[in-house]
Symmetry: C2
Subunit: 377 residues, 2 copies
Amino acid sequence: MISSFTPPQRILMGPGPSDVPQRILDAMARPTIGHLDPAFAELMEQTKTLLRYAFQTENALTFPVSAPGSAGMEMCFVNLVEPGDTVIVCRNGVFGGRMLENVKRCGGVPVVVDDAWGAAVDPAKVRAAFEANPQARMLAFVHAETSTGAQSDAAALAAIAREFGALTIMDCVTSLGGTPVRVDEWGIDAAYSGSQKCLSCTPGLSPVTFSERAVERVRARRMPVQSWFLDLSLVLGYWQSGGHRTYHHTAPVNPMYALHEALVMLREEGLENAWARHRAMHLRLKAELEALGLSFVVAEQDRLPQLNAVHVPAGVDEAAIRARLLTEFDLEIGAGLGDMAGKIWRIGLMGHSAREENVLHCADALRQCLGGERMAA
Amino acid sequence: MISSFTPPQRILMGPGPSDVPQRILDAMARPTIGHLDPAFAELMEQTKTLLRYAFQTENALTFPVSAPGSAGMEMCFVNLVEPGDTVIVCRNGVFGGRMLENVKRCGGVPVVVDDAWGAAVDPAKVRAAFEANPQARMLAFVHAETSTGAQSDAAALAAIAREFGALTIMDCVTSLGGTPVRVDEWGIDAAYSGSQKCLSCTPGLSPVTFSERAVERVRARRMPVQSWFLDLSLVLGYWQSGGHRTYHHTAPVNPMYALHEALVMLREEGLENAWARHRAMHLRLKAELEALGLSFVVAEQDRLPQLNAVHVPAGVDEAAIRARLLTEFDLEIGAGLGDMAGKIWRIGLMGHSAREENVLHCADALRQCLGGERMAA
């Protein structure tokens, strides 16, 4: 007979989810109400307002998709890309590759701008791609590559797209709340994020925002969106404020409580303070990791404070170390993905995980494991 | 400044979500762990086992989609329907219409079998549709129409499909856990449900199950699935047991705790007992509603015990009554959808909501509101 599940108490320093504060867990456990209840409508309006603050945007169309970040990504692409559209896709890690996959499945014609994993996207290459493909209608890039820990210059990339009359889709899953994301100032037309990274909420929701230019592009579509669930024209009827709210799908009510609470907490701390905290904890961790002889994958100027990718030392069984960290220290850190599997560790300092006790615990645990490993070798 | 959200304490007797037991809310608030944590993998395996019990199936491919029921529906269609496939779609309410929309967006060629809203699907019409369209590769129908409260004879419909060599997709969003759903006995190839109906979990997850025949159909696809997020071949790598679990998306960890607990509770009660409880509470409510002079939309033999659709009495402002029920009695009941908007109420007795105190509270509240309304008229 299967009985109730009691999870272990972990310290989450992988690429997400991050540690979820008790206050957010408590919010999630409040009584469920209907998704059409006027009280829930009020929660939705507040959540939109709070998300606009997080994204630094005035975009009316700003809300959480009722599914994880991958669905938020897909919502951007299925609505904004029509068959035959040329889309310039920047690929410097796993998530750029996933964007490319999305473009293909929408019938778009991708032009891929490749950069090395661990490097930022090179704006010069993006400019060259636009010059060679002036018909391109869209630029897609990842602001903060969760697979490598590299951050790209979103402002520069979006400016190039605008110069060539293209819209910009930005993945800010790992950056939102951790490093500056300025949707309006940068001129981003569509951005998606995730609840479980620097917002420190439970996984399962994907905040998105769309500019007026993006909404116009959706309105001007020649063909219906291939997804019913992610069709913005339908979702809009549910998320719009004022007047009649049309039933589309049943929103995940309790996870929405949690996201609301996470955003209230972000507002209380202040975005700038949250960014500074991530930066400060990164510097603490960096000193600790370097003292252990670990080297970073990403060049210093492109490094994300909230995702520290380091090379696994030669001769070390990286999976064994991660297993030991988990079982002996209740500490989760991330493995490498794709080409970097087995070669790197990804140590997250996201949201509530970006605090001193976590930095010290991680450094101490790694010290013990690597010391032991070296002695054993 | 927006502050923490405190929802009102409602009694949920609409078409879902239903009342969520405190035990499930408590489970959801347990500490978040990583979606690749071995402890989470164990939770996933147990959830699959428990879902097989709920669906009455041995299907290996049985798991919860990380999104609401609409996404579960879409997962079935985008994987099983290829452009040009003829699909017979039964439409006797809103959700049959949504299935039709899914078929179109997959490039399928729909053959619609219409029945009146409030009626069950007529097997004779389905047989005639197959005879006229022997090339049809799929039959899609809604077992329990949430928009009307009508239940169709799933066994009979699936048998016809099988006779003509077609696969069957069944919507059992509102039936799972409330009335018998026997996926294997009936020969259903794909079924999807929702967490927030008779399972009494919070909204946001969609249990699905696929037969071996369905998996073969997916494997034999000529074209990639149009959705990356819902592509079974990718999701499979994440949900498969044993060996290497591939990262696909970040599962909604805490909602998964809640679903697991809801399924443990269903197992404790026993499916047959849960079905009997829904039936008994329906009979109690039926007597109360009829004593108030309210008449049912659906003929007795096709009536769903867990969703009681009744005609709004002539001259009654139905929205005003619902608003009063909510504000004065903290009671949510459902409005009509689509063609039935303004004409019916939908009173849910789903999961934890199917208990005597709810029946009595609802009857009492309606008595007061309708009495007052009549006096005012």
